[in-house]
Subunit: 115 residues, 2 copies
DNA sequence: TCGTCACGTCGACAGATGTCGACGGATGTA
DNA sequence: TACATCCGTCGACATCTGTCGACGTGACGA
């Protein structure tokens, strides 16, 4: 059921947003201006729009410090849902080893063959 | 590099396509008509369109048998790229344990903190 | 051969989406 | 205070996308 409402995939479907996430994955935390410089194929206001989508999708975190806003990947957000979905599709040979974590099995069972 | 051209995310960004993939993940193989019956919120020609996208994105396989076409999830296709991308974003605590497999490290290094 | 089934594709349409420039609100500095 | 910086939002525009019905094609059965 939850396999049909994964906001992260919508967020991940855009190339610019993936570039933003890649940058955040490398540097950990970046301001909007810094992101706009790195992605640079689009303007700052466009980056801001994308960040809103990433925010409301539960993909990134926002931390405010004065007039700056630092963004970072939310590793506990909807990306995990997307990850589990792919995990289910790929079937065996894939392990999610969460340190904290509630049981993984509770939501996405291994996937059965009906054939 | 490759983090910016992952066709699977485009394919996964649609709810109907995720439903199709879920169905294929459960049943293994399905014809177009069978998929259209299970998804049922859209018509058959629409399902066919989605299958084309899933095909050209390297997400599903097609097997022809007479006048029927059986579709199944391509576990060696671009879904793995998407999986690795998310793996990189989530950072530690995630393991891809491929049985065959070229080296995983060759493309997506663990990701460094610069902060 | 003729009819039917299982599909893919095309044309048309409405709605969603990405992009930009302009504007305004906060926050810091002189 | 006055000004600059950082950033979100709005309006406008062009393009992409999902959807359907109609049509054509290849495969099967009578």
């Amino acid at each position: 059921m939850s396999a049909n409402e994964i906001l992260a995939f919508d967020a991940l479907s855009d190339r610019v947003r993936r570039q933003i996430l890649s940058a955040l994955g490398e540097d950990g935390e970046l301001t909007v201006t810094e992101i706009a410089e790195r992605v640079d194929v689009v303007g700052r206001s466009t980056v801001s729009s994308h960040l809103r989508i990433l925010r409301t999708s539960g993909v990134v975190n926002e931390r405010r410090d004065g007039r700056r806003r630092y963004y970072s990947v939310d590793t506990d957000g909807s990306i995990r849902d997307a990850f589990r979905f792919l995990q289910g599709l790929l079937g065996a040979g894939v392990q999610l080893d969460m340190s904290a974590s509630e049981a993984i099995e509770s939501e996405g069972q291994p996937h059965k063959k009906v054939g």
